[in-house]
């Protein structure tokens, strides 16, 4: 087992090949809560697994050789691995042995090929997808999606309800699977970075940051200090823009549209400032391997300071509005409770985990630059309901506003990009960064030509979607939009 201490290690991390016994023992330790699953993915004849060592605050990556095309199921010990395991079978044709669920996940039988990243087998006629059975008196089913009523991404929800109460929700995802991991393979670093920025539109900055850090890790280079600060500036702007959008949308789903209108204005102000300072409203394609592609000057710093001042004033009034509207709190308090035990088991990232007592923030735990030099708190609550997830966002907005102020105050002079060495070299790298939704993990292997051989990008939604199924149980159907919005999982980031 190889260990990577994030704070000191810059060398190429070797992805250690382990025996089946070690693999299984890691799975058992994960089930016992010693490790968190960061990701499980396929590669050419291998399955690879990244785990977070809770005691050591470090990432371990292990690989298992699968010469006969099978591997011992991880989900058999540790259920959070289930959907990734089904995905490995869909994309690589590597079969988990004794898996608790044999159904396909991303493969809906429409691609014209099976195992597109593995043996590329000819497609067979798609079998109908069988939803899990729900038995009992007076139950009815409500199928929703993939095309939903609002302006949102596609996915299918199968509710089983008893009267108004949801007895079971089963999700079916994969509708927006675009084959990004295959498009990454063979791409040069700059093209692959562009793809990373289009994994999940709301997390363009965080995904490109994770990709760039993994690429820098693989090539053994370090972005200059000014680039680190500009990256963090964009990451915090992305965080507050999304949190404003979410807070407004959650309240709107409780029929309190006033909040949506006001939060929409704040969000628009952030996006306009982003456009003025970085040339793109979502700040896409600004973070590149080696550094950043755009610098800011005195004019831009003024714009951002003006933005901060306005936001601080206006946001505190909105927080009061939220907290002083009993009809709104009536809907959010006690709704959609995520138990702390489940949040820990699934290593739920972001506001979902932190609203249910899981104190994890990659900015703090991995402590990647420049966060070690900055003052900030990681808010955590234990109540785990919709209200707690709103409050974590509110508190995080405040922290991010303060962080932006610190970043603007301490912006060092100097270059914004370290040159990626022109001589191509193979290597492996990984990164764990904190997006607005939670921790994003990227693992990258470069071929001898310096192009991407294989890139795995794990959105936080992988471990949040299954929890939504648990959270809605026992709530009324009408509260689903509220629960769903308070999670705001990514479809595209998950489906890839």
């Amino acid at each position: 087992m190889t260990k990577h201490d994030h704070s000191t290690s810059r060398e190429t991390p070797p992805a250690g090949i382990v025996s089946t016994e070690t693999w299984e023992s890691i799975c058992r330790q994960m089930a016992e809560g010693q490790y968190n699953l960061l990701s499980l993915w396929g590669d050419d004849g291998f399955v690879r697994m990244a785990v977070w060592d809770i005691d050591a605050n470090a990432t371990h990556i292990v690989s298992l050789d699968c010469p006969d095309g099978t591997f011992p199921s991880v989900a058999r010990h540790h259920l959070p691995a289930l959907r990734q395991e089904r995905t490995i079978r869909d994309l690589f044709g590597l079969a988990p042995l004794d898996a608790p669920d044999e159904r396909p996940w991303l493969d809906h039988g429409k691609w014209g090929v099976r195992a597109p990243l593995g043996q590329k087998l000819p497609a067979t006629a798609p079998a109908p997808y069988v939803f899990l059975p729900v038995e009992g008196e007076s139950l009815h089913k409500i199928p929703v999606g993939p095309v939903h009523a609002g302006i949102i991404e596609p996915g299918h929800f199968r509710f089983t309800a008893s009267g108004e109460t949801v007895v079971r929700l089963e999700e079916r995802l994969g509708y927006v699977h675009k084959g990004i991991e295959q498009l990454m393979a063979g791409a040069d670093l700059s093209h692959a970075a562009k793809l990373a920025g289009r994994v999940s539109g709301d997390s363009a900055v965080a995904c490109q940051l994770a990709f760039a850090r993994a690429a820098e890790n693989a090539r053994g280079i370090e972005a200059p200090p000014r680039a680190h600060r500009l990256r963090a500036l964009m990451a915090e702007m992305e965080r507050i823009a999304n949190h404003f959008g979410d807070i407004g949308a959650i309240c709107n789903d409780a029929a309190f549209s006033l909040m949506l209108a006001h939060c929409g204005v704040l969000r628009e102000r952030v996006l306009r400032a982003a456009d003025a300072c970085f040339g793109h409203r979502l700040m896409r394609d600004v973070i590149v391997p080696g550094g950043v592609a755009a610098d800011i000057g005195a004019k831009e710093i003024d714009i951002l300071r003006g933005l901060l001042e306005g936001l601080q004033k206006d946001f505190s009034r909105l927080v009061q509005l939220y907290d002083n509207t009993p009809s709104l709190l009536e809907r959010t308090v006690g709704t959609g409770v995520l138990r702390s035990k489940l949040a820990r088991q699934y290593a739920a990232g972001g506001y979902i985990g932190r609203a249910s007592g899981r104190d994890f923030d990659a900015r703090r735990m991995v402590n990647y630059p420049p966060y070690g030099d900055l003052q900030f708190e990681v808010p955590v609550r234990a109540d785990g309901d919709v209200n707690a997830r709103v409050w974590i966002r509110i508190l995080e907005v405040r922290q991010s506003l303060a962080l932006i102020g610190q970043l603007l105050d301490g912006l060092p002079e100097g270059g914004i990009s370290a040159a990626v060495p022109s001589a191509p070299a193979s290597g492996e790298g990984f990164a764990l960064v904190e997006g607005f939704r939670g921790d994003i993990f990227v693992w990258l292997a470069l071929g001898k030509d310096g192009h991407v051989r294989r890139c795995h990008l794990r959105d936080p939604s992988w471990f949040q979607w299954p929890l939504l199924e648990a959270v809605i149980e026992g709530n009324i159907v009408a509260d689903f939009p509220l629960c769903n919005k308070s999670f705001n999982c990514s479809y595209s980031g998950h489906d890839l």
Binding site: H108, W111, I151, Y175, K178, R198, S200, V265, E268
Partner: protein, 173 residues
């Protein structure tokens, strides 16, 4: 809350002047909007948004159209929950193979006359995702498209210009 509501009445609105309709969009539409449509629909158009595989970036900017700065509804344009209520399908994303059938069904469910707008670079050509085993290409390869709005994602003002071009073209008939 009272204070906020009062300010909303007393302060000047944030809503900005409408941009001019997009010239290229007007040309794009010359063929597709006819007199019969104008007669049947009047000035108000109902939009059904369909994400056929996007990264969600375009959806974020469509959402922005509803904020106080752009205030889409003042033009008589509004989003509806069902394709059966829609005059316009606003489609984003490259069409993934897993969404192709849903898009076809949504198109079939929208009553005539109807227009399809392909929104964003991916919707126009498949964008960076063209050629993937999981992607069927731009929207036009699955359902007929009347108007293309490019961008990654297009600026809300650009989306507004395209939609206004549709309205303008319709009114000039």
């Amino acid at each position: 809350m009272k204070k906020l509501l009062l300010q909303g009445i007393l302060q000047r609105p944030l809503t900005e002047k409408a941009p001019a309709a997009d010239e290229t969009a007007l040309a794009d539409l010359a063929e597709t909007v006819n007199r019969a449509a104008k007669k049947r629909l009047g000035r108000s158009l109902a939009i059904r948004q369909v994400d056929a595989g996007s990264c969600n970036g375009c959806e974020l900017e469509i959402h922005a159209l509803g904020n106080a700065f752009y205030d889409l509804e003042r033009f008589g344009l509004h989003f509806v929950a069902s394709p059966r209520h829609a005059d316009i399908l606003l489609v984003t994303g490259p069409v993934t193979k897993n969404m192709q059938e849903a898009l076809k069904r949504t198109y079939a469910a929208a009553p005539d006359p109807k227009w399809v707008i392909a929104l964003g670079d991916c919707a126009c050509t498949g964008g960076l995702f063209a050629g993937s085993y999981a992607v069927a290409g731009g929207i036009a390869e699955t359902v007929p498209v009347d108007l293309h709005i490019r961008g990654c994602p297009p600026h809300p003002e650009k989306i507004l210009q395209g939609l206004l071009a549709l309205l303008e073209r319709q009114q000039s008939l």
